[in-house]
């Protein structure tokens, strides 16, 4: 039982208004392509927020700043769930919701102050996140999430995934955003873009692996798999032995 939608269905400032009218108490989670945000609402008031990279869970902004940045998002999915525990949380946001919305509007008029927004397209290359936590094994996925997840490691881009699964592009993009929000999937950053990207990306150990990772690797892997008579990857002896050594060492 949760309120779910996208910012196109309902803007963040509309949501704040609904929370005030309730007044509602709970946790609002927003998932954009590369970030996820959590906003805590107690008796209609926004009391705390955090914005983290996804994947990576690296905190990008907290409190007022986190909310303001989320107000700049045009595309994100959200889930709001009632949670009375938020009432026990100590407020860390002092400005009220209306002030935050106004500040967001001011920033929007000055795009130089806005955070870059990375969007998923059909050409986006995806990979499984290298280090989901063991806690992640408790996660539950819907059918589309399953479909896409299972194609990620063998598809050169989202278009191929759509073709393989028959999922409509718009739906696939939403689903990828969800998988990213859970931390299971991430965008492979193309090498040149990785060099030019923001500080947070450069410092992210996952993202900084990207140049070595190389998007072409995935494509190559996928086509190798395709070329193989079965659908299995060709794994050399050396690699199998490396895996065995690693497992023995665990």
């Amino acid at each position: 039982m949760a309120l779910e939608g996208t910012l196109q269905d309902m803007s963040l400032s509309d949501l704040f208004q609904i929370f005030r009218m309730g007044p509602k108490t709970g946790v609002l989670i927003l998932a954009s392509v590369a970030e996820r945000g959590i906003i805590y609402v107690a008796a209609g008031k926004v009391i705390d927020a955090v914005l983290a990279t996804s994947p990576g869970n690296r905190v990008q902004a907290a409190q007022e700043e986190a909310v303001i940045q989320m107000l700049l998002w045009d595309h994100a999915s959200f889930v709001f769930r009632h949670d009375a525990n938020v009432l026990n949380r100590s407020p860390r946001i002092t400005q009220d919701g209306e002030w935050l919305v106004m500040e967001g509007m001011r920033r929007r008029e000055d795009p130089a102050r806005a955070t870059p927004y990375q969007s998923i397209t059909l050409d986006t290359k995806l990979q499984l996140s290298p280090l989901p936590s063991s806690a992640e094994s408790g996660v539950s996925l819907d059918v589309n999430q399953w479909r896409i997840l299972s194609q990620v490691s063998i598809s050169p881009n989202l278009r191929t995934i759509c073709e393989a699964t028959g999922i409509e592009p718009a739906q696939a993009i939403r689903t990828v955003a969800e998988l990213m929000a859970i931390g299971l999937v991430e965008v492979v950053i193309p090498t040149p873009a990785a060099k030019a990207s923001t500080k947070s990306v450069a410092h992210d150990p996952v993202a900084s692996m990207a140049p070595a990772v190389g998007s072409s690797d995935l494509a190559a892997t996928a086509s190798r798999m395709g070329a193989d008579c079965g659908e299995r990857p060709q794994v050399g002896r050396g690699l199998l032995e490396a895996i065995m050594r690693r497992i023995r060492g665990l």
Partner: protein, 180 residues
């Protein structure tokens, strides 16, 4: 980065989740904000199919993924998606539940239809005093002689390592055989 996949299958309560938990890399959760992300996981739990998903980093370039197949029969079709591109799979069977053997056999034939990836059978819960012996499990399931059936205690890390190593050795032997 190269992603390699091993699928862990088996009937309900065979120990798939346990096996993946026992062996996977663990992320430490320390800060306040990271803990709050649990709330998000909680939310996701409201949807339908449990995902067992674990990783073992092999080196900087290669990560091994373990995928557990979803339990519910109505998600059978997911198996196909999951097995695409997998190195091999482990069929787990609860050695204390002969009542589950028939279902395990059905599952094994279904997998054989879906993929020709190499597999082994793990006779789980061998720590239970009442567990059926591995040889009996093999016979009851009618596992072909060339397929390894190995003892398993999914709660025990060395045992889980042994299972994965058996699968990898079998995969290596298979690929060698096909090279010749």
């Amino acid at each position: 980065m190269q992603a390699l996949k091993i699928v862990i299958t088996g009937s309900y309560a065979a120990g798939k989740t346990q096996l993946i938990r026992t062996i996977s890399d663990i992320e430490t959760i320390s800060t306040d904000y990271e803990v709050t992300l649990d709330e998000e996981r909680q939310l996701k739990r409201e949807t339908t199919v449990a995902l067992d998903f674990g990783t073992i980093a092999i080196n900087e370039q290669v990560t091994l993924y373990l995928f557990g197949t979803p339990g519910q029969e109505r998600f059978d079709f997911m198996w196909e998606h999951l097995t695409v591109g997998c190195l091999g799979y482990v069929v787990m069977v609860d050695s204390t539940r002969p009542g589950h053997f028939a279902e395990t056999q059905r599952l094994m034939s279904r997998f054989a239809e879906i993929t020709d990836a190499p597999y082994i059978v793990a006779a789980n819960k061998q720590d239970d005093e009442a567990a059926l012996p591995v040889s009996y499990v093999r016979r009851r399931l009618g596992v072909p002689l060339e397929i390894p059936v190995v003892p398993c205690v999914a709660t025990d890390r060395p045992s889980v390592k042994g299972v994965l190593l058996s699968l990898l050795r079998y995969i290596a032997a298979q690929s060698q055989a096909s090279d010749e």
